[in-house]
Amino acid sequence: MASPDSSVAPLPAARPDGGARVNDFSIQVATANGSGSQSSNTVLLRAIFQMGVPVSGKNLFPSNIAGLPTWYTIRASRDGWIARKKEVDLLVAMNPETARDDVLGLSAGAAVVYDAPLALAELRPDLVYYPVAFDALVEPLTKEPKLRRLLRNMAYVGVLARLLDLDLGEVEHAIEKQFPGKPRARDLNVAAARAGFDHAATLEKRDPLVVRRMDRTAGKILVDGNAAAAMGALFAGVTVVAWYPITPSSSLVETLIGHLRRYRIGPDGKATFAVVQAEDELAAVGMAIGAGWAGARAMTATAGPGVSLMSEFAGLAYYAEIPAVIFDVQRVGPSTGLPTRTAQGDVLSTAFLSHGDTRHVLLFPGSVEECFTMGVDAFDLAERLQTPVFVMTDLDLGMNVWMSDPFPYPARPLDRGKVLGKDDLDRLGGFARYADVDGDGIGWRTLPGTPHPKAAYFTRGTGHDEQAAYSEDPRTFERNLARLEKKLDGARDLLPAPVREGSGEAKLGLLAYGSSDPALREARDQLRREAGLDSDYLRVRAYPFSREVREFVEAHERVYVVEQNRDGQLAALLKLDLPAALVPRLRPVPHLDGLPLDARTVSDAIRAEEAR
C-alpha cells in the first residue's frame, strides 16, 4: 500500500501569512507505549529548549507497560505559552493502531511525518505528508531487533530536526544528556538521529514550521513536578518517608530516595533519613503520623485512591494535632479507568477528609517551582500548625516536563513549631498539651523521649481535655472544636497568599488553581485579543482561603472558577466560605476529559457565557 508518490501529494491551500511559522507550533508524536519514545520525545523537547525557544511537553499515556497507544505533544511558543495546545500542527505517526484516527483528527494544512508502510497519504488530500521508511533507516545501525525498534524513534527526531531546521548539534547534546554514562546507547542514538537527519534532506519541505534561535530559555531548567517536590522535601530536611507505590506519585518518592542516598548518607554510611515502602496507604500515613508525633519531619506521597484510604488517620492527626505532609498527585477516578490521566478531583474530599468536623490545610502549587517551594513550606506549616498538610499537585504538573526558573534556596530557617524541651519544662514546671496559651489556637507539645517527668501526655482522638486526659464532657469537646477552628482560621494568614494578575479594574474575574495556571494566563490573553474581554485573574494557592479571595469576588461582577473536575469542587468550598450574596457571582468552568487543560477550552467557555 505504501506509495512513494505520497511525498508529492497535492500542496495544501495557501497559508494565510504566506511565510514561515517560527517558534509557534505544536508537535504530536503517536507511538506505542514502551517503545522508547519517551527518550526520543525528551530529546526533541530539550533540543528546542536549547535553541532558546520556550517549550512544554505533555505525555498522554495509558495504564500499561508496553503496547498500548501513547501520545506526546510538544509545544514551542515564542510568546512563552506553556499550556497544552489542542491543535496539532505536526503529527509524527509511528503507531499503526492509531495512525488513521490521528490523521483524520488533524486540521487542514497540518504536516504528517509517518512510517512509510502506513500509507497514510491516501486518507485525505489536505495535509502535508512526509513518509519515511524508518526500518530501512535504522537497519544498518544494529542487528538487534529490539534495539532497532527503539532507534526508529530516535530517527524521527533526526527527521524533525531537518524539517524544523533544528541544529543537529543541539539534538546530539540532548541525547548526551538523556544517556549519561551510557556511551553505547548515546552513540547508537546519535547515529539514529543522524540517519533521520540525513534522510530528511531528500524530503521537500512544504510546511511552514521552523525553529529559529531565541534567548528565552537562558538560565532556565526543565523538570517535572514530582522531581521538584522531591527536591522540596529534601531541602525541607525530611527525615521519615513512608509510601506505597501509586501512579502518578511514585516518581516523587523514587526521585527523593535517589537524592537522600546521595546527599544524606554520611561518610560512615549512616543515614539521616528512613524510607519505608509500606504495605498500603493506611500504613504509609500511619507511619508518617507516628513519626510526626515523635518529632520527625515526615511525609508520604500518594494519589486519590491512597488519600481515600488515609481518611481515618487524617482525622486522627487533625484531632490529635500531629504534623505530617501528604503529597497528593491527583489523577482521575477510583480503581481502573484513567489512572494515568490528570484531574483536580480530590479537592473537596481532601479538604474535609475523615469523619467529624475535620478540615485540612491544602496547598495548590501552580508550577514546578511551587512544587519545590511549597514542598519546603509544607513541612514548616505542618509543624507550625501541628496538623496534616496536603500538597495538591496533579499528574500534569507531577509527571510532565516543564520549563522553569531555577529554584531558590530556602530563605528561612526550618520552623519546627512549638515544642517544649527538658529545659523549658524545668522552667515551667509542667505544661498542658492542648491549652491555648498564645491565643492562636496552637498548643505546645513535647516529644516522646523528652527526659523530664512532666513531659509525657496521652495522645488520643477527639475526646480529650487541655491536659490531654480522656474526657467525654460536652463543654470540653465544644471548646476543643472551637480552638481547632481558631487554629485553622489563623492558618489563612500563614499559608501562601493568592497571586493576582490584571489591573483590578475589570468586571470579569477568573479564579483557578494548580496546574490550570498556564492555560488561564493564555486564555486571558485570548479573551482580550480575540473578544475584547478584559479580566482580572486570581490564582488561589491554599485552603483555608486567604481573606483576599473574598475581596476578589467582591470586586468582580462575575467570577469564572476554572477547575479540572466536573462538580466545581473548589467553587463548593468557596460557597461555604463566602457570604450568600456573593455566591451567585461564581460561574463554574469545568474541564474533565483527563487531559491537561488548554487555553482554548477556557476562553471558548467564557466567551460563550459572556455572549448569553
Partner: protein, 347 residues
C-alpha cells in the same frame, strides 16, 4: 518506750525510682479482667529492668486492651491510635527516635481481625518493639462478639458457636520471621514476668500473645479463653529464668536440661526444658509443635521462638545514632551548593 522508727526508705530500682513512679491512672476495666494483671506485670518488668519511664512510648490501637496503657506508666508518652493500625504508628515513632523503647499493647480483635495486615508486616520488618496481644478471643467494648482468635467450637455466652478456625498469632508470627515469640497467660505471674523482662532485652520485634480472660463476655463454660480452661490446658514448655546483664550473676545451669540464650544486651534467657526436644531456636519445629498443640486443644506457653541475632529494621536502615527527630538543621538541609548542582543538571 520505743523510739519513733525512721520509715524504711522505699525500695528503688537501679535508677533510684520507686515502683510508684511506674504507676498509671486507675483502671476503668472490669474487676478481674486479665488485662489489669498484664498491666501490673508490664510496669513491674519496666521497674525491675530499670527502664526510664520517659524513654518508653506506649502505643495501642482500639479496644479494652488498647485502653490499658492509660493504667500504667503515666510518665511515658502514649498514643491511642486507630483500630488495628498501631503497628504503623509505632514504626514511624521508632524510626523518628530510635532511642524510644516502644511498647505496643493490642488485643485479639485489634491485631488478628482488623489489624492483621499491619501485624503481618510489623512481624516481617522486625521493628524494635515489645508487642503484647491481650488475647481474650472476644470483643469487649462492643459487648461480646467473636474475634479471629476465637477457637473452633468455642461458645459465646449466648450459645453461639464459632465455626471458623482460630488464627494462631504465634504460629503466624514465627512463619513471618518474627524474632521473639512467646505465649503466656495473664494468670501466670511468674512466667509472664520473666518473659516480659526477656522481651525488653530483645532488639527486634518481641511478640507476646497473652491469654487474658474477659470476665464479662468470655469466662464461661464452653469458652476456650477462660480462667478455668487455661488452668486445665496451659502446657508450659519450660521454666523461664531471666538474668539481666546488669545483675551479672554467674548462675550455674545444666546445658543438658537448659537452653541458654544470650540476648542483644548481654543478658541471658534460660529455659529449663519441661518438654524434651523443644528448642526455641528451631523455627520449623516450633511451628509444627504449635500446630500439634492447637489440634489437641492445648495452649503451649513459654518462649516459643527466639533469634537474638537478626538485624532489626533500625539496623537495616543504618540510621545515624542520634534520633532523626531532633537532628539539627545543618544535618538535614543540604547546603546551597547541592541545590546549585541539581539545578545545573536540569539546564
Amino acid at each position: 518506750m520505743a523510739t519513733p522508727a525512721t520509715p524504711a526508705a522505699p525500695r528503688t530500682n537501679r535508677l533510684g525510682l520507686s515502683v510508684v513512679e511506674y504507676k498509671g491512672a486507675k483502671s476503668t476495666l472490669c474487676a478481674g479482667c486479665g488485662h489489669n494483671a498484664i498491666s501490673e506485670r508490664i510496669l513491674e518488668a519496666m521497674y525491675e529492668m530499670g527502664v526510664p519511664p520517659e524513654r518508653v512510648a506506649k502505643l495501642s490501637g482500639i479496644g479494652c486492651s488498647s485502653k490499658s496503657p492509660a493504667y500504667f506508666m503515666s510518665r511515658s508518652h502514649a498514643f491511642n491510635a486507630l483500630h488495628g493500625r498501631m503497628p504503623s504508628v509505632a514504626t514511624g515513632a521508632v524510626l523518628a527516635n530510635r532511642e524510644l523503647l516502644a511498647l505496643g499493647v493490642s488485643g485479639d480483635g485489634d491485631t488478628a481481625s482488623i489489624g492483621i495486615g499491619q501485624f503481618v508486616h510489623l512481624m516481617r520488618r522486625n521493628l524494635p518493639i515489645l508487642y503484647v496481644v491481650e488475647n481474650n478471643g472476644v470483643y469487649g467494648l462492643t459487648k461480646g462478639q467473636f474475634s479471629a482468635t476465637a477457637d473452633l467450637g468455642a461458645k459465646l455466652k449466648t450459645g453461639v458457636q464459632n465455626d471458623l478456625p482460630a488464627i494462631d498469632l504465634c504460629t503466624l508470627a514465627i512463619q513471618l520471621g518474627a524474632t521473639f515469640v512467646g505465649r503466656s497467660f495473664s494468670g501466670d505471674k511468674r512466667q509472664l514476668s520473666a518473659m516480659l523482662r526477656a522481651a525488653l532485652a530483645h532488639r527486634g520485634t518481641a511478640m507476646l500473645d497473652v491469654v487474658s480472660p474477659c470476665v464479662t463476655f468470655n469466662d464461661h463454660e464452653g469458652s476456650t479463653k477462660s480462667y478455668a480452661y487455661m488452668k486445665e490446658h496451659d502446657v508450659p514448655l519450660h521454666e523461664l529464668q531471666f538474668v539481666p546483664a546488669f545483675e551479672d550473676l554467674a548462675v550455674e545451669y545444666d546445658p543438658g536440661t537448659t537452653v541458654d540464650v544470650t540476648m542483644h544486651d548481654g543478658s541471658h534467657l534460660r529455659l529449663r526444658k519441661l518438654e524434651e526436644g523443644y528448642d526455641p531456636r528451631d523455627r520449623g519445629r516450633a511451628m509444627s509443635r504449635l500446630v500439634e498443640a492447637q489440634a489437641g486443644g492445648d495452649v503451649l506457653t513459654g518462649v516459643l521462638f527466639v533469634d537474638a541475632k537478626a538485624p532489626s529494621l533500625v539496623d537495616l536502615l543504618n540510621l545515624v545514632d542520634a534520633p532523626l527527630a531532633t537532628l539539627p538543621a545543618e544535618a538535614v538541609r543540604p547546603p546551597r551548593e547541592v541545590l546549585d548542582a541539581l539545578m545545573d543538571a536540569l539546564r
